[in-house]
Symmetry: C2
Subunit: 354 residues, 2 copies
Amino acid sequence: MANKRVTLADVAAEAGVAVSTASLVLSGRGAAVRISTSSQQRVRDAAQRLGYRPNAVSVGLRKGHTSTLGFISDSVASSRLAGEMIKGAIEAARDRGFMVFVGETGGNTTLERQLLDAMFDRQVDGVILASMLTHGRDLPAELTRTPAVLLNISTDGDLTLPVVLPAEHQAGRDAAAALVEAGHRDIHLIGAGPGPDDVRTISSAARQRLAGILEVLGENGLAPASGRDINQWLPPEGYRAASALLEKGVPEALLCFNDRLAMGAYQAVQEHGLSIPGDVSVVSFDDASIAAWLHPGLTTFALPHRAMGKRAADLVVDVIEHDRRGTDQPAPGSGVHLIPMPKRDRDSVRQLDR
Amino acid sequence: MANKRVTLADVAAEAGVAVSTASLVLSGRGAAVRISTSSQQRVRDAAQRLGYRPNAVSVGLRKGHTSTLGFISDSVASSRLAGEMIKGAIEAARDRGFMVFVGETGGNTTLERQLLDAMFDRQVDGVILASMLTHGRDLPAELTRTPAVLLNISTDGDLTLPVVLPAEHQAGRDAAAALVEAGHRDIHLIGAGPGPDDVRTISSAARQRLAGILEVLGENGLAPASGRDINQWLPPEGYRAASALLEKGVPEALLCFNDRLAMGAYQAVQEHGLSIPGDVSVVSFDDASIAAWLHPGLTTFALPHRAMGKRAADLVVDVIEHDRRGTDQPAPGSGVHLIPMPKRDRDSVRQLDR
DNA sequence: AACGCTTGCTAGTTCGGTTTAGCACGAGCG
DNA sequence: CGCTCGTGCTAAACCGAACTAGCAAGCGTT
């Protein structure tokens, strides 16, 4: 369609110099190879005038790198949160001059390999492998061929890749602390617990949140008043768990393992004619969009998906640039990067005066 | 890092033929140029043995196209729905052998131009320009240089680009019909109306939904019992609107302009001690995730984001392949493509027996 | 006049493929 | 015996840039 791109040759012709001269000038090496100021100016003017933009494909072929990243996740769309992760990654990448290919596997390993191949074929400089499920998994061997970062994937292997994860353990501590500091003693867990091994979900987040919670309760001489280990963290389950609790009396505080459980708990509490936070305090994790829409606003600890995506992209680019420099220093960033889960303080916790 | 890629030259050497021969064989033109069966086999074996994969960058440079699409939206992450749109596009693209660059502008036009440039630099074969806001806008001129499709963007111009939109008008008709057919007569609109011009949102969806609704009501000799034109379609607004209604009596049916408004309406109805659908029926649009989580499940007309993304990708690829063939036939797919909004039938509508 | 040095610029190779034009050889034909 | 034709394959140009090696002109020296 339409007029083809302006090439370096066009610029060179317009400026009356050789292609190599134009290349040198535009890549900033003009002074270094002693191109006269006037010629340099002519080249730059010509480029400007013609609206020259280097063909990245050609540059990629010649230089062997493409300023391109691959982002592969098992589910782009399943949650708003996945979108945030991608967004963070894309933005960080752009700030560093990279574009990103996005692929989605739906958990299919064959597809994952195909996507990786398709990306390597296109000479991506690095790869971010993301999951929405945060659990251990085997990694495709190809990942060692290129800088790579794991995003929201905890691996068991002794892998030296950088790994970006939410600080679930700390969030567990913070959530428990929020209730304890508000004066609560009668704290019921919905989603996992009461024991440290009562965790049914595959999600390793559950285990860590629980550990953090129990730690803080223990430090305050407390234990969960009850716990309900649930496999599917969805509103109906939260509803059921809270309803069961309400049969036996009014719990002082509910610590829900995610916002959907909390949403169900809200429904149960409110159907019982009780008020949040007047009668029951609720704290949760994730900061899904419903957290803000519930009545009253739900105090929750946000999964920092955006920040995680950004960190992951920054890490791959760090590694890429490090490799490019070719120094002997060890690759940067390997190891686990925990991104804090910030508290979204809303109106579901009552301050008791004890 | 690690062993470099296998090139065509490696394969040719291994098979004992010239590079051009290997190329011909692997691109399937072996028979056409009379390469002996035995040579062909040797080349294929060698390729197989060495694990050869063509370097897409090189191919892109030579052939001038890259089997790559650009997807630019103003907000990847703002909603789960945007993710669905991207997912649909990515999947359809993959099925056709394309990878996709994803970019996000946040509504910033300068950024949009930069992203387009970065994508054109990388020789994308086509572009999908998407918006979450569905309203008219000016388009960057660059879009005429390459096959392009507008996704969820309605343009005023006489543009010949294909445009993919949800069938809002029809959904408005369907939503009204759902209530009318259930025997409702006392239908209150929350979000826009009651008159056809009572539409405050910039979203053109509002206007079309409203038009569809009024059409069907009119055809049944009805008019909205009331309407509330709201700018921000969020739960608190829905709550307020429904509460105001409830002050004056019990409305038979609420037709909310999106699920968030419906969520707010639920809260109000339930706080008034009334039941959905026992006392009040509710119908809505979007099928956001909360629609399924609400008690009872909300009957709503789904924004078909996934299908829209898929259609958009298919359309660009159609155009690309059409251009490639270089026939004189007119470009395919130009014009508006309306994707149906399917009904998600849940439990918020009561069947009256009149 | 011959030589070396600096200055200013360019020819030519390379990246990894695709594609066209055509070479070399043997068989068949008159 | 010379010519044409078919078969099987390859050399070489090309895509658009990056980059190395080095040429030519001008100037000062001896």
